[in-house]
Point group: C2
């Protein structure tokens, strides 16, 4: 294990017994959140950073679960000793969102009212609901104010929502490869994914747990589609081009090009490790996010009460959440007279770029987090 | 019926009893081609124009099949008296490609060797195979040389292949919204579509005819995905934006946004009117097209023996076959010292733009076809 890893980490399940009211009007009577933390909370409790995950993410953002574990957490490139989110300075909290399938209360959890898994009865949750649950988590951890709330993609939406709903409870919002709302094309891709899942005969109206089945075909298709939108056209061209598996055209319907087998593998792997009902919920949270609607579609107005600093980052070949979307956020923040830095990073990696270490991205990310640390004088009187 | 319509047209089925050797090494012992023609072949047989169709197209390109028929052929915007392909001057031939599902021999046809529909046993056909079958059709019609071969998308690939394989048999190739080969991203979208179809339990390994079933779910998903790639992000934003069906968030998994119901409708309509095995074949023909491979991946070399003039047209928001792809074709033609005009048309309509009348596109198309007519002195000594 390298010296810039947080090492072996252990997730913790935290129970909340007070009801959580939801945007839908429903409420969860009680719930659990699965959490990982990295680094140490200082005496002032001023150095806490919240990591918000994206569509298929979870609480395991950094480090390893055992010495044998080969794959680190999903944002290990950004979190660790000496990394942009420096665990020598910051206490990092990473949480699996409600509705998830990695330990927090979600469709696979037992509904105490029925003794059966929630399945399709799990309520539709929104970005705002998640932020409310994360605020309860902060209360529990004794964190009055986050040094920063950080997220990419759907995670960036949560950072924005934090700035809007709890202006006094965060110092900075880092909104990476995100958008203030989905476009019609984004929604369209989500809808095809939902149709693929819900039309799978193994879906059983979301009660596949009862039938000991899994809508693997549908979930696999959903993942394949999503995967195409995570990569750039150029990135795919560079990675696969028109390379064939055997070098010769087979003139049949077997897998011919390497990009086909890559996608099939990605789809199949995902279809047995992720919950289909959770996938549906996550896509709805994405579709519904649009904080400007409450303010006559004026995003600057929606952000007008924010008091934190903002870092907005986009990637040139990201066509899922294109740089234009990040510029909209930046323009709204400028119009609302907020403190905002915007960086558009050259990258071939499309939307996935936010998960990948690259010199300029890492430099910008590191510099911004250094500023956050400096403002709080973190590390100054510290022998570490 | 307006005066610029070709009016009521009747398709004709033409039988070919000689075998057609295919790229795969297989051959079709005999076959039928379903054809429509518009306008009149002149005495010199010099005014014939071949229309090549795209993925889901067919022979019915212009006019109506009856007085009650509400929807004209798929390229009625371009073909008719006074239209860019002016049927007062040109004799237009439009053919359903082999493997199709609109009358030409394809998977739904009876295989004379078994007495059953071909189904999945129909051989994989390539753009070159289609062009060979179209050459046989030209022979049958007594057309030694086309005034022009015209196609959009996959149709443009056929026009290019004509220029390469039969340099003396066409005066001009019009290559619209096309590409000299698919990108990895294009192939990836095709593969997701194929997976959706072949993993549908109603597909029965392509023998759904025997089971009196149809892989409607899979074909519908394939069409939804394709449809997203036919429209531009901006075009979708303009057409649908985030408009909701009811105006309120429903917090369930019913259809929420108008773009969702639009896509669902498009998918369902297609799934009962198009043959799934044909869809698979068409996507393979797309994947396989890459005339440069036979020439060390040098497209200019592949086109070096062409003797026709070329019009290459692209549309700014087309991301399925982006302008960059058309510029590659144009650059190769310039490098090969060919006579080429290139027009990049501003449009919000994405890939679909090639099917839609718009001022600059229509002007360029019309001007080029006028040049074709002038070269042949069409209409000059003609009282029409």
């Amino acid at each position: 294990m390298s010296s810039d890893s947080v090492g072996i980490v252990t997730p913790e399940l935290i129970h909340f017994s007070d009801p959580l009211p939801l945007s839908s009007g429903k409420s969860l009577p009680c719930y659990d959140l699965m959490v990982e933390t990295y680094g140490t909370l200082n005496a002032e409790k001023s150095n806490a950073v919240l990591i918000c995950h994206a569509l298929s993410g979870h609480h395991h953002a950094a480090g390893f679960h055992s010495a044998e574990d080969k794959k680190p957490g999903w944002w290990d490139s950004a979190i660790g000793p000496g990394k942009p989110i420096d665990t020598n300075l910051f206490f990092v909290v990473s949480v699996n969102n409600l509705g998830g399938c990695h330990g927090s209360t979600g469709p696979t959890s037992i509904n105490s009212e029925t003794g059966q898994p929630f399945g399709p009865d799990f309520p539709v949750v929104t970005v705002r609901d998640w932020v409310n649950s994360q605020a309860k988590l902060a209360d529990r951890l004794g964190i009055e104010r986050w040094a920063a709330v950080v997220g990419g993609s759907l995670g960036g939406m949560q950072a924005m929502q934090w700035a809007i709903d709890f202006p006094d409870r965060l110092g900075h919002a880092l909104v990476i490869a995100s958008a203030s709302k989905l476009t019609a094309q984004n929604i369209a891709f989500n809808e095809v994914a939902r149709q693929a899942i819900t039309k799978d005969p193994e879906f059983y109206d979301g009660r596949y747990y009862d039938h000991e089945s899994l809508p693997k075909t549908g979930l696999s298709l959903a993942r394949m589609i999503a995967h195409i939108t995570y990569l750039s056209d150029d990135g795919m061209a560079e990675k696969f081009g028109r390379s064939m598996r055997t070098g010769e055209l087979s003139f049949d319907f077997n897998t011919q090009f390497q990009v086909e087998s890559y996608l099939q593998y990605q789809g199949e792997k995902f279809s047995t490790t992720f919950d289909a009902n959770t996938y549906l919920l996550m896509t709805k949270a994405l579709d519904y996010f649009d904080p400007a609607t409450e303010h006559n579609n004026d995003l600057a107005k929606a952000l007008s009460h924010a008091r934190c600093g903002f870092l907005v980052v986009s990637f040139t070949t990201d066509w899922r959440f294109a740089p234009e979307r990040s510029r909209e956020i930046t323009d709204a923040l400028v119009a609302a007279d907020k403190d905002v830095c915007y960086a558009e990073i050259e990258s071939d990696h499309g939307h996935d770029a936010f998960l990948i270490d690259s010199p300029r991205y890492t430099a910008v990310f590191r510099a911004y987090m250094k500023r956050v640390a400096n403002e709080l004088s973190l590390g100054v009187n510290d022998a570490r």
